[in-house]
Symmetry: C2
Subunit: 377 residues, 2 copies
């Protein structure tokens, strides 16, 4: 059986994702579609708008055969670690090809990856801007190209990860048909996930842009978790925590712990907090992820240890997905997890477990201990 | 000027407190009444029903001349540390006499304190019950008397503290005229604070039992903070925290950190949590205080260090109170605090500051940084 892989967040699953899924089947000619999907929190450092089970189900309903959770130590990371993590899992699952959307599929990403080796490391480390700014400055010097669109950046990271892993996975970029990632308008059957979330939070109509299952899920969802809901907990924690504790949080650096403490005292909303924390030095996503690490109390040590021990957590499959999983099982060199028991909860899966616990508290929906993979008939 | 001291929680200030205040003036013949009052959290390990400023104001309106905050490291403690702390402050303030309510004012408390020296320490430490049970078993063996009523126990602790401090403060017990502490009924103009809180939380009428100011305060209060409001934060913290972190919390002992973690996972309400944590080994108050230490992330080290550095935090006064404070100021051997600045906030007052921050977040009412003592005209 030939498998095509997708790296996804499905936040939520929309018509653009359906198009991507169908194109992936078509261009790869694969028998089975494997999606690696972020769990309850996303790369931008936010809770997903629907929990991982609901989103996995949406994917299965739409024709994905096997959904694997991208653990939080990969999912809530900058693009290069996110891509590396996703490809680590897809490589284990022996997919032949990864099909991904890109704003500029015509770019020769492999060539850009080569160019990175020529970067002036001294200049790179001196420049006082975000990582992305410094990266692009160097890339432009070497190749004349800049990567400013999020899916182009991910495409680059996939190529780099495949090279680093010496993987045989074929990488196929297809053109994204959605509006721009940042576009908040819903103007057609294709809208960005960001625009759909914006519509949900602002009671606007998004139904044209999503498959029926997603519309049902968003309609039925009792608690759509966003930073406004999470911020009181973050604020409480920062106000009570010691500076030492905050310093131990993953990615808390350069005195940000002092800024966090100072600003949380008076910032009544997440937007207020972020607008005061934000500086040229850090992107919004970097800071939003840091807020999430803090909220979930993820220490530097925990994050680094967890990332050394990846696993394949199965969220759901149909018959084809199950058959495929069975066929690759014997070659796996990392654990396959279908149920979370006490040992896993306190061990390798602890970070995902805690992330799930938080979502459970917010929504009342069980996330881990009592859950078996979804079996799609 | 002769001062009489009161040790209070005023949670909230009610007619029984007014009676106590008037009796204290009468029996002592003092010129000035000094009340030491718990701040935003009480001895039972709960948020006070109204914040410290509101309650201090109620006391001043009713005729107390000077209100001093009992810092959290004294206020949220078992009776003996609570009493010791309160008397440390009142001793600094050179009061002549402490007048307190007791269920059995006829008891010779000094004699009981002597009896404690005869306790069989081996038997005391072996018996597997709460501290109070073991204490009473021994006390009964020595004197035939048991101390089961909360104000009798406090009375005992005042006597012990005065002996330990070699203080000249005269101790005068007066009979409590309220219903029993635990009585939840409101049947007259005198009801217990506990009954009044119960009435507030259950939309029953309590107006007959409180002075007008308290009735106004309870009516106007936007957010009356109770454990139901605080529990989501406690639960969140326990779910995310490491066992090491929980072990570091003041009074977290004998594996309670594991029980906390296990039970918080599924206990959706504070009552559920407490009913599962409760055992013969610990009183409800002991566990409720432990929950509060955990909520406010108060470590063992912090609590012990803080208790070594007491201070006199002035919440309010009238002219007489101010004059009295001025007259004793030069003899104080601990700091007098009227404003919380950056150093105090991060230093000696840090625990009260954090407690206030939590209440600020719950109620929106500023507690420390921007507050000056109430000046009652």
């Amino acid at each position: 059986m030939k498998a095509v892989g997708l790296v996804t967040e499905y936040n939520p699953f929309h018509n653009g994702h359906l198009h991507h899924l169908n194109m992936a089947k078509q261009v790869s000619g694969a028998d089975v579609v494997v999606a690696v999907m972020s769990g309850n929190f996303t790369q931008r450092g936010e809770a997903a708008i629907l929990d991982k089970w609901t989103r996995a189900n949406e994917a299965l309903v739409s024709g994905v055969d096997l959904v694997i959770e991208l653990p939080i130590f990969y999912a809530v990371q900058p693009a290069h670690l996110f891509a590396q993590g996703a490809l680590t899992l897809l490589n284990q699952l022996q997919i032949s090809e990864l099909v991904f959307g890109s704003e500029h599929p015509e770019i020769d990403f492999n060539q850009l990856v080569q160019a990175e080796e020529q970067f002036d490391s001294e200049e790179f480390s001196q420049y006082n801007g975000t990582y992305a700014t410094r990266f692009n400055q160097q890339l432009k010097q070497q190749t004349g190209i800049e990567l400013t669109e999020p899916n182009d950046i991910l495409a680059y990271c996939y190529h780099k990860a495949v090279q680093q892993m010496n993987s045989s996975i074929k990488l196929t970029a297809i053109e994204r048909v959605s509006n721009s990632y940042h576009d908040q308008r819903i103007s057609s059957q294709i809208a960005s996930a960001s625009a759909i979330r914006h519509a949900v939070f602002n009671q606007l109509d998004y139904r044209e842009s999503v498959p029926e299952q997603t519309a049902i899920d968003l309609f039925q969802s009792k608690a759509v978790v966003d930073w406004n809901m999470c911020y009181p907990y973050l604020r409480y924690l920062i106000n009570q925590a010691s500076i030492d504790f905050l310093q131990g949080i993953y990615q808390m650096s350069e005195g940000l712990e002092h800024k966090f403490k100072e600003i949380a005292e008076n910032a009544a909303t997440f937007d207020e907090f972020m607008s005061q924390i934000k500086s040229k030095r850090y992107t919004y996503s970097r800071l939003s992820r840091l807020c999430l690490y803090t909220l979930l109390q993820i220490t530097d040590t925990e994050m680094k240890q967890a990332a050394q021990l990846p696993y394949l957590r199965v969220l759901g499959f149909n018959e084809r997905g199950q058959e495929y999983l069975h066929s690759v099982k014997k070659d796996l060199t990392i654990p396959l997890v279908t149920k979370v028991d006490r040992d896993l909860k306190q061990g390798a899966l602890n970070l995902d477990y805690r992330a799930g616990k938080f979502i459970e508290q917010m929504t009342g929906a069980a996330q881990d201990l009592k859950k078996s993979p979804i079996i799609m008939k």
